[in-house]
């Protein structure tokens, strides 16, 4: 029921996001949801009052590329996903290496 939702494969992620950036969209949020064994990553972008979502589904243990080369301000979202879900995100510009939330139990949402 999300409006303007596009489900894509992990391999096409960075190209898709570059395209979105070129169109003038800005990152609004990135979040993960555990559905069964897999994780859904939802990237939300905004342009004025329009919103666009991109969703990828990854299996446990799969590494996800960072989008911080394209959207530098996204580093907090990616660190959050790593700390709470245990999903490895490669190449974040400010990598806290698991030290953003410092939870007692590692990856509590996994």
């Amino acid at each position: 029921m999300l409006e303007n939702l596009e489900e894509i494969e992990l391999v096409g992620l960075l190209n898709k996001i570059k395209e979105i950036k070129t169109d003038g969209w800005l990152v609004m949020q990135i979040c993960a949801t555990k559905i069964g064994e897999n994780y859904e990553l939802l990237y939300t972008f905004g342009k004025d009052y329009d919103v666009k979502h991109v969703k990828i589904t990854v299996e446990p243990g799969v590494h996800v590329p960072s989008v911080t080369d394209i959207f530098p301000a996204a580093f907090l979202y990616e660190n959050e996903i790593h700390d709470l879900f245990g999903i490895e995100v490669d190449g974040i510009n400010h990598d806290y290496k698991g030290g953003l939330y410092r939870t007692a139990t590692p990856a509590p949402f996994a």
């Binding site: 939330y101 410092r102 939870t103 007692a104 139990t105 509590p108």
Partner: protein, 173 residues
């Protein structure tokens, strides 16, 4: 001269939602004005007589709470403000919350409420002042010394045969 004539207060925000902290601040603002009881809000634990704690304790701040408590001089009282500081409140079941303030240090006065009302905070502080005077009297007679946080942890452990955090987990279960 009784110590309760001008007690100094130290506020620490554990992992509260901000609601109780704002009410603690509001009780120092003109409407409620706890300063009329001679209370001064201080940031230095070594100056403080009353330790006012809001929010639950988590693994990151438990040592901070212990350290602040141990640095305060005797006599001292601890006030758990808000239901989260009393026993964890709505966040009790969260993975990152160990429980109320009494999981790590002894608490003298529990002030419930979500969020705690300034009137309740003042009431709790006034109650705490009585306890503070009693402690000071006993100290003069050489009958009293407050527990350190390490001794408190031992005391909890001896009741249960395990350490303090395990006790909290059992309470939750």
């Amino acid at each position: 001269m009784r110590i309760s004539k001008s007690p100094w207060l130290l506020h620490y925000d554990g992992s509260s939602c901000n609601g109780c902290d704002i009410e603690v601040l509001a009780s120092t603002a003109p409407r409620f004005d706890v300063e009329r009881f001679g209370i001064i809000n201080t940031g230095n634990p070594k100056h403080a007589d009353i330790f006012l704690c809001t929010g639950g304790v988590n693994s990151q701040n438990k040592d901070v709470v212990r350290q602040i408590y141990d640095q305060m001089p005797d006599p001292k009282v601890v006030l758990a403000c808000g239901i989260c500081a009393c026993d964890g409140g709505i966040f009790k079941d969260c993975y990152n919350i160990l429980g109320g303030t009494d999981t790590v240090i002894p608490v003298d006065v529990y002030v419930p409420g979500c969020a705690v009302r300034p009137e309740a905070i003042i009431d709790g502080v006034v109650k705490a002042l009585k306890i503070l005077d009693e402690k000071a009297e006993k100290m003069k007679r050489g009958e009293y010394r407050s527990l350190t946080s390490a001794e408190y942890a031992e005391k909890i452990a001896s009741k249960d045969g395990s350490d303090g955090e395990a006790l909290q987990e059992e309470k939750d279960a």
